[in-house]
């Protein structure tokens, strides 16, 4: 049984088909990159994984559970922008991840110390201790995204969803963010879906790269046919498959 399973999912807005017949199974701990032309429905797919919207047909489930109807604690998310709360300091944003689950969004006194320790540990981990008391607007784009990722991880989601998280960053910062994300991922072993418009980034970070595209074109009305997953590349070992086949099946080397 796969960890995330997407079974025959369709999405229509009005009579416009955006996605159709999307099927994919993902194992726990896999890093899935999603690429495709702009406007082909990548964010729509991510919103359905997030349960921000429900598919018009088909089902998405995590770990065999019933399909979710609204976003919740088991799915973390980082968007290209606006993923942190502008009215809270950096530290406040991390503490929010601890406090928002309580009935009034405030930590009870006895839980405060432990939460503050965890927030401090995350601050150290994402390298933002020196700006802990500043507001997000005064941080650079890279720092804001580090904060957004750290905040999402504090809620320990089962699946992390990233929608072009580095799309607004300059190339140098983007490379740093790649290292940062890969380290975090090695530490936590979490399952990640990342939409990107940068093919190179997709192959560099992902275990698999899913390509979304329209399988065929309706000659009269392009809105009739939605996009689906047209390729599912194995991106491990620099994208060259079967590199480790001899380790897995030593008997093949016998002859």
């Amino acid at each position: 049984m796969s960890f995330v399973s997407v079974r025959n999912v369709w999405q229509k807005y009005g009579d416009r088909s955006i996605l159709e017949r999307v099927n994919v199974s993902v194992d726990e701990g896999e890093f899935i990159s999603i690429v495709g032309a702009s406007g082909c429905g990548k964010s729509t797919f991510l919103r359905m994984l997030l349960a921000e919207e429900t598919p018009s047909k088909g089902e998405i489930s995590i770990d065999g559970g019933i399909p979710a109807v609204e976003p919740g604690i088991e799915r973390g998310v980082v968007f290209q922008r606006y993923s942190v709360f502008p009215h809270m300091t950096v530290r406040g944003n991390l503490l929010a991840a601890e406090a928002f689950g309580t009935p009034l969004g405030r930590l009870p006194r006895n839980a405060r110390k432990a939460a503050q320790d965890r927030a401090q540990a995350t601050l150290d981990r994402i390298g933002l201790t020196h700006v802990a008391e500043q507001y997000p607007a005064s941080l650079s784009g890279g720092m804001q995204q580090r904060l957004a990722i750290g905040q999402a991880l504090m809620a320990t989601p089962r699946v992390l969803l990233l929608d072009e998280p580095f799309g607004a960053l300059d190339p140098g910062t983007r490379l740093q963010m790649h290292d940062f994300l890969m380290e975090l991922r090695d530490e936590t072993g979490m399952t990640v879906f990342m939409v990107t418009h940068d093919l190179h980034e997709g192959f560099k970070l992902g275990d698999r790269v899913l390509v979304f595209d329209k399988p065929r074109w309706d000659p009269v009305d392009p809105n009739v046919i939605g996009a689906t997953i047209t390729y599912d590349f194995d991106a491990r070992n620099q994208g060259v498959p079967f590199q480790d086949i001899l380790e897995k099946y030593p008997m093949l080397a016998a002859g």
Partner: protein
């Protein structure tokens, strides 16, 4: 150099800012002087010195009959009505605005109703308010509330709707309930807007207050102005007008300072 690129230097800017005030004062003095030389008992444009003397008398000398200083009584009564009305409006608009902005059910329920309500001219309702609530304090406060709440509510609801969807989704992925999203995500972000709405609405609030006091009252700044109009006491009227302007200015300044102190994150990006 283009006119749009010409910028006054610091002393020049101060001078320019002061110019309209000085011109107004000079124009008034000259006009008053002309009338008073023609007819020393003219009441229409009292000399600035007369106004100053009247102001001093109004602020310090108690009334002969009641032994109280009327101007202070008027000020306290008017400010209490103003604060009451504006306070109730602020609270109402905050609660309803949050509900409309966050809850689709509340949006369906309220938004057209409030759009229509904001078209009703409040002063036309004044007679109804006097009939329903009597001539006391209630009708004056209610007039202010009816007059400014719809605008403030619509604006706050709009502000809540403008909060990026990403933030609302993010809060949900951190486990936030509707109440937590309202209290910890939406509310703090619209509080600065509430204050600027109050600042904007205070002008209308004064208008409604003075209108209501002029029609039916026995104390209040608006009441006094309309009372002394019968004796053509321009010096008293002008003193009251200047005093009301000063009060409005001080309240506005206090709110502006409060906003700057209370919401440091607003300026973090500047």
């Amino acid at each position: 150099m283009r006119l749009i690129n010409r910028i006054p230097n610091r002393p020049g800017a101060v001078l320019l800012a002061a110019l309209p005030f000085v011109l107004l004062l000079v124009a008034y003095s000259v006009a008053s002087d002309i009338r008073l030389t023609a007819n020393p008992s003219d009441k229409l444009l009292p000399a600035p010195s007369t106004i100053a003397a009247t102001a001093e008398r109004l602020f310090t000398e108690p009334d002969r009959r009641s032994k109280e200083i009327l101007l202070w009584n008027d000020t306290v009564a008017s400010l209490a009505r103003l604060m009451g009305g504006v306070g109730i409006s602020a609270l109402l608009s905050l609660v309803i605005g949050l509900a409309i902005g966050l809850l689709p059910y509340a949006r369906s329920l309220f938004s057209s109703f409030i759009a229509v309500l904001s078209m009703v001219p409040p002063l036309a309702l004044l007679p109804i308010l006097f009939i329903v609530f009597g001539l006391g304090e209630t009708s004056k406060v209610v007039l202010i509330v009816i007059g400014i709440t719809p605008f403030m509510t619509r604006d706050l609801a709009q502000r809540v709707l403008e909060i990026p969807k990403e933030q609302i989704v993010k809060a949900q992925t951190l486990g936030a309930s509707t109440a937590v999203i309202a209290l910890r995500v939406a509310l703090p972000q619209i509080l600065p807007r509430l204050i600027s709405n109050v600042r904007l609405s205070l002008g209308s609030a004064w208008l409604f207050l003075i209108a209501a006091e002029a029609v039916a009252s026995n104390v209040g700044l608006g009441y006094r102005i309309f009372l002394v109009r019968r004796y053509l006491a321009m010096d008293v009227i002008l003193t009251y007008v200047i005093w009301i302007t000063l009060l409005a200015f001080i309240i506005d300044w206090l709110l502006k300072t409060l906003s700057r102190r209370a919401f440091p994150w607003m300026e973090a990006g500047l």
